[in-house]
């Protein structure tokens, strides 16, 4: 019988072979011809972790760190590992109640599953950290995780240094080739923004193997493909933090700005804007709240007025008007104008503060006495220059001069958001006057820094640099050098190392202008302001503006010989330049040049910083806001009182709804109405149930 069906043995063997061939065919398909599975496997199992390097530190001119990193700690929790810990003790340690504890654990589970670490409490205070660090071993599942945050040790220079923040989707779209990812931080303002690429360093990438629940199982291929994080490079700025602090102090209770530049290099020594804020308030856990507050403030503390404030320069413009005329050879320093207290040549009179004969007998005197008539005349001569066919062409030439001086153009400082202020174009006047029918008479107040002319404090201080340098300037900048500078960094710094020659006027003639400005400080409008030990040159300005009281403007440089500091100060709506802006400038120069202040000056700093020059409108806004807050608080108090009044005798008044998110601390005294276990958040219950089920699936 066995021989009977022997052939069937062959059939069976062939069937076996065919089936195995099919299996091998499918294996060839899967393992050799389908590359997608490898990619899918990598997506499954390899976790790419970005290692953030420390951001670079920013130093001032004396190598003091003014923006650095500090370590703060987050309390992390892996909910699945916390079983059986002493919840009460732990909650007491943190100063929360157990209901809050459970709520946070639930939130962590919802957000990030129970097997992965989530933040339990972010950015612990130092005391809390100390307390936890001692006891954390008792609470498995909890750990402390380092986090590097930015800190500003001097609490100053907020507008210059800027801040970092998390990138948003629009940022990611804009810079999609630069490797940012959701959750990354980037410089959003100030130096943090401009030098983002230098400060951020190079992010490293570590690859880990992760399991089906996202837990890390160790490094992938022993770190063969990992890259090391390279720390950000440091910035060395020209800021003198003491001068900066002084500037900010002097501008307290005022709205305005002060900029001090080293004319020799264009390096900015101090750049203050007021009102300002403590930059440390924009780091750490309260950032969001504080940022919103600053954003809504009507005095706009986030606005860096030094580069964004546009003010009519007023009389501080006058030396520049002189320079243009001199360069065009329209006048000589000996040119005089017979001013009798006003300028009548264009019909309507332009008043002048002085009427004495000969106060405008030459350029030096005209500057010293700030003669309006003289500079209106000089401006008109420039516009009506017979070299050019018409006043429009003459005006364009004058405008070109202005742009060369850095007026009406962006200077190119290494801060984002600089404005170019305004030297109006002919189009603007054509519009004003219905075509090119205007002449120098129509726009004559441009000659004394009014009309449509505006400038930023930075531009004004740059003008001082040009005069101090007798004809050239370096683009104002904050960063002098980078750590480990390479050839690639010329992008950042080369433009600050080129000299801009603007006029072709002999040094001797510059000296005349400087003499005129020195006269201002001896017997002119700044006669009462001194810089102990130094001769200095200045020009005051009291700029009319449509917003209210005159802006006080003061520009100066010192010492007269071999100048080392050029300053421009604007105090909004305060009045005379010599009175309200002058002291700021001279005290800054004294501090910078002498490295200290005299006792007398210290006293003046104290008194001056207490003077309140904030316009009434803004004060009223603050008052209103405060009163709204007070009213709200009162209302709340009242409500609370009422509620307390009601609750004892309203036990019959049972609430039907209960929201554990909103009222996590409510005691359940209405149990009969809500039979479900309220102190146990429903989601947690569901989760443990699921867990149990899962456990029971496999024997």
């Amino acid at each position: 019988m066995s021989t009977y069906n022997q052939s069937r043995s062959r059939v069976i063997q062939i069937i076996f072979l065919l089936v195995f061939a099919t299996i091998i065919g499918q294996l060839i398909n899967l393992q050799i011809f389908s590359s997608k599975y490898r990619i899918m496997a990598d997506n499954n199992a390899i976790y790419r972790k970005v290692i953030y390097p420390d951001r670079g530190i920013i130093y001032d001119i004396k190598k003091r760190a003014i923006l650095e990193n500090t370590i703060m700690f987050d309390l992390m929790v892996i909910p699945s590992d916390t079983k059986g810990i002493d919840k009460v003790a732990f909650s007491n340690l943190l100063g929360i109640d157990t209901v809050e504890y459970r709520k946070r654990i639930t939130t962590a589970i919802i957000k990030n599953t129970s097997v992965k670490a989530s933040v339990f409490e972010a950015l612990l205070t130092p005391e809390m950290y100390a307390r936890l660090n001692e006891n954390i071993y008792k609470f498995p599942g909890f750990m402390l995780q380092e986090r590097s945050i930015r800190s500003y040790p001097y609490n100053t220079a907020a507008a210059i240094l800027g801040y970092i923040g998390e990138v948003d989707t629009s940022f990611l779209r804009k810079y999609k080739d630069e490797g940012y990812e959701m959750g990354d931080y980037t410089g959003l303002n100030g130096l943090e923004r401009t030098y983002e690429k230098v400060l951020m360093g190079q992010r490293g990438i570590k690859r880990f193997i992760r399991d089906n629940k996202g837990r890390l199982q160790g490094s992938f291929e022993k770190g063969l493909f990992d890259t090391v994080a390279i720390a950000g490079r440091n910035l060395y700025t020209s800021i003198d933090i003491e001068v900066q602090q002084l500037a900010e102090k002097l501008l307290q209770n005022k709205i305005g700005s002060a900029v001090a530049i080293n004319p020799k290099t264009g390096s900015i020594i101090a750049m203050a804007t007021s009102p300002s804020y403590n930059p440390n308030s924009l780091t750490g856990s309260t950032r969001r709240k504080n940022f919103g507050k600053l954003l809504l403030d009507t005095a706009r503390p986030l606005l860096n007025r030094a580069i964004k404030g546009q003010y009519p320069p007023g009389s501080t413009f006058k030396p520049l008007g002189g320079l243009v005329a001199l360069d065009e050879n329209i006048i000589t320093p000996n040119y005089g104008f017979p001013c009798g207290g006003a300028y009548y040549n264009c019909g309507k009179a332009v008043r002048c503060t002085h009427s004495g004969g000969g106060h405008a007998s030459n350029l030096r005197n005209a500057i010293a006495y700030s003669c309006n008539s003289y500079f209106v005349q000089v401006f008109r001569m420039a516009v009506d220059n017979p070299l050019y066919a018409n006043p429009q062409k003459g005006y364009l030439k004058w405008k070109e001069y202005m742009n060369n001086f850095g007026m009406g153009v962006k200077l190119g400082i290494d801060l984002p958001g600089e404005v170019k202020a305004s030297i109006p174009d002919t189009n603007r006047y054509n519009k004003d006057f219905g075509g090119p029918r205007w002449n120098s008479c129509n726009i004559l107040t441009l000659g004394i820094g009014q009309d449509r002319m505006t400038a930023t404090p930075l531009q004004l201080s740059n003008l001082m640099c040009i005069i101090a340098n007798k004809g050239y300037y370096y683009t104002p900048h904050l960063v002098d050098s980078l750590e480990n500078e390479t050839i690639d960094d010329t992008v950042y710094l080369s433009k600050y190392r080129t000299k801009h020659l603007v006029t072709h006027i002999a040094d001797s003639i510059y000296s005349i202008i400087q003499d005129g400005m020195e006269d201002v400080t001896i017997f002119g409008t700044a006669g009462r302001l001194k810089v102990p030990g130094h001769k200095y040159c200045a020009k005051t300005g009291t700029a009319q503006n449509p917003h209210g009281n005159d802006h006080a403007v003061f520009t100066a440089f010192a010492p007269k010989e071999n100048p080392r500091i050029a300053v421009a100060v604007v105090v909004e709506n305060s009045g005379y330049g010599g009175t309200w802006a002058g002291p700021v400038a001279t005290l800054l120069m004294e501090k910078y040049l002498n490295d200290t202040l005299t006792v007398e000056s210290e006293k003046r700093v104290e008194t001056f910083s207490k003077i309140d020059l904030i316009p009434k409108e803004i004060k009223r806004w603050y008052h209103r806001k405060d009163s709204i807050r007070v009213a709200k608080e009162k209302e709340k108090e009242k409500e609370m009182e009422q509620r307390e009044d009601i609750t004892p005798d309203s036990t019959t008044n049972i609430k039907n709804t209960f929201d554990p998110e909103a009222e996590p601390n409510r005691k359940e005294n209405d149990k009969n109405n809500n039979p479900s276990t309220l102190d146990q958040p429903p989601l947690l219950l569901h989760n443990t149930e699921k867990k149990k089920k899962k456990d029971s699936i496999k024997p």
């Binding site: 072979l17 299996i23 091998i24 294996l27 499954n44 399991d211 089906n212 199982q217």
Partner: protein
């Protein structure tokens, strides 16, 4: 003295190649289980001694198996012929007892608790008993397997435990008993049954793959073509036409009614979903009778996570694999049930196509060797038994590996000698070693 003599004879005539293959496969199995459980920094020695991990338990089981195998080799081969029917009866009683004593594990009530954490699955053991009983029945002198009656009795011997298994919600194990048709085919079951079986399988797969109307048109076309080709014969013999039309009707009704009925009413929702997901389709559970019974359960999403992960693990192995203990999918525990049903994925990932190919060759060698061994038996009992062993092994291997590479719906049956699991390893050990014991006495005619 007699025992010693006996054992000497046995050791001389034992097929050493199969023992080697057995040992190699069991070792590969333990290594694979170790690979699945491996974590960097794990203290291997402590784990082996502690016996807490699966691979250490499997090592322990392998030790038990060595002892059992030794006992079998030392026993008398007549024992198995003598007790075959008794064993079978015992097995059926055990399976019936499961309904009373049964313990619910994984939703199937097929386990008898033995105490001490050990559970016995009688359906697993019954494979041995059925093999013996079938061998016994077919080797009877009065059995003429060319007769329909004998064929039905033979099929009944195999099918009784299968039906009991289905009643215990163990479809996978029940399917294994269909392997005995291979044995019966070898012993003279008409090949029309084989052809019919294959045709039905093709029809069912086609039903799943194609639109009902398209398939109906195709079937009609095939019928028309056959009629056209056979038009001369049909003229002579009218009943050929009747046969063709009847066949066509049967095919269409299977495709139209039987298959949907089977998936909607016989199979459970998850089983239908698995079958449909294998051909890349979603099964609508709301049509399923079982699903509507317990509406509390949410309607399942297409349940292809297992197969997807399994294919990812195997596919990512590439040609030469990622290396032992270096498989990311294995280490990340992405494949569910990887130490039991999906153990092949760890080989596929770690050793790639080359490794899988060699591994399959080992299995093929084992299977062909057993067939060779079967054919050299003098007694029908030994031959039928050996064929039973090879059929069961073949069925397990094919279904298990096809399931991991997405050629077969997921059925929870283990990979012989490799998968983690004491009862599975023990069952296959007993199966193989009884065969070896019988083979050692191949000169004898056992009945």
């Amino acid at each position: 003295m007699s025992i010693q003599h006996n054992s000497m004879r046995v050791s001389q005539k034992t097929d050493t190649l199969i023992i080697w293959l057995y040992a190699i496969l069991v070792t590969i199995g333990i290594c694979c289980i170790f690979m699945v459980e491996y974590k960097p920094g794990m203290n291997v020695m402590q784990n082996i001694l502690g016996g807490t991990t699966n691979f250490s338990k499997q090592t322990l089981f392998a030790g038990v198996c060595v002892i059992v195998a030794t006992f079998i080799m030392l026993s008398d081969s007549k024992l198995f012929t003598a007790f075959a029917n008794l064993f079978y009866a015992f097995g059926i009683v055990l399976m019936l007892a499961t309904f009373v004593l049964g313990k619910n594990i994984n939703g199937s009530k097929s386990w008898i608790p033995l105490g001490g954490g050990f559970n016995l699955q009688p359906a697993e053991l019954c494979k041995i008993f059925v093999s013996l009983a079938l061998a016994k029945y077919l080797s009877r002198q009065e059995t003429d397997f060319s007769k329909l009656k004998s064929q039905i009795i033979g099929a009944a011997i195999a099918m009784v435990p299968a039906i009991l298994s289905i009643a215990q919600q163990e479809t996978g194990l029940a399917l294994v008993y269909s392997a005995f048709f291979i044995v019966m085919y070898r012993e003279g079951l008409p090949s029309t049954i084989l052809i019919t079986g294959i045709s039905v399988i093709i029809l069912v797969v086609a039903t799943l793959l194609l639109e009902p109307n398209t398939l109906a048109i195709i079937l009609t076309l095939i019928a028309a073509i056959i009629i056209f080709i056979l038009r001369r014969q049909i003229k002579r013999q009218k009943n050929i036409l009747t046969i063709i039309v009847t066949l066509w009707l049967v095919c269409v009704s299977i495709q139209r009614f039987a298959v949907p009925y089977f998936f909607d009413n016989v199979l459970k929702c998850y089983q239908s979903t698995r079958v449909y997901s294998m051909v890349g389709k979603d099964y609508d559970c709301t049509k399923n009778k079982h699903a509507s019974n317990n509406t509390s359960k949410a309607v399942r999403k297409p349940d292809d996570y297992n197969v997807r992960q399994s294919k990812i693990a195997i596919g990512s192995g590439g040609v030469i694999g990622k290396g032992y203990l270096k498989g990311t999918q294995t280490r990340g525990k992405y494949v569910p049930e990887q130490s039991t049903d999906f153990i092949f994925t760890s080989i596929g990932e770690a050793f790639g196509f080359v490794g899988s190919f060699i591994f399959l060759l080992l299995y093929l060698l084992l299977l062909l060797r057993i067939i060779r061994l079967a054919e050299r038996q003098r007694s029908t009992f030994s031959r039928v038994y050996a064929y039973s062993v090879v059929s069961i092994l073949f069925f397990h291997i094919t279904v298990n590996i096809c399931m991991t590479i997405g050629l077969f719906p997921i059925i929870g049956i283990p990979l012989p000698l490799i998968s983690y699991g004491g009862s599975s390893l023990l069952t296959f050990t007993i199966l193989i070693f009884i065969m070896l014991r019988l083979d050692a006495d191949r000169q004898m005619v056992l009945r």
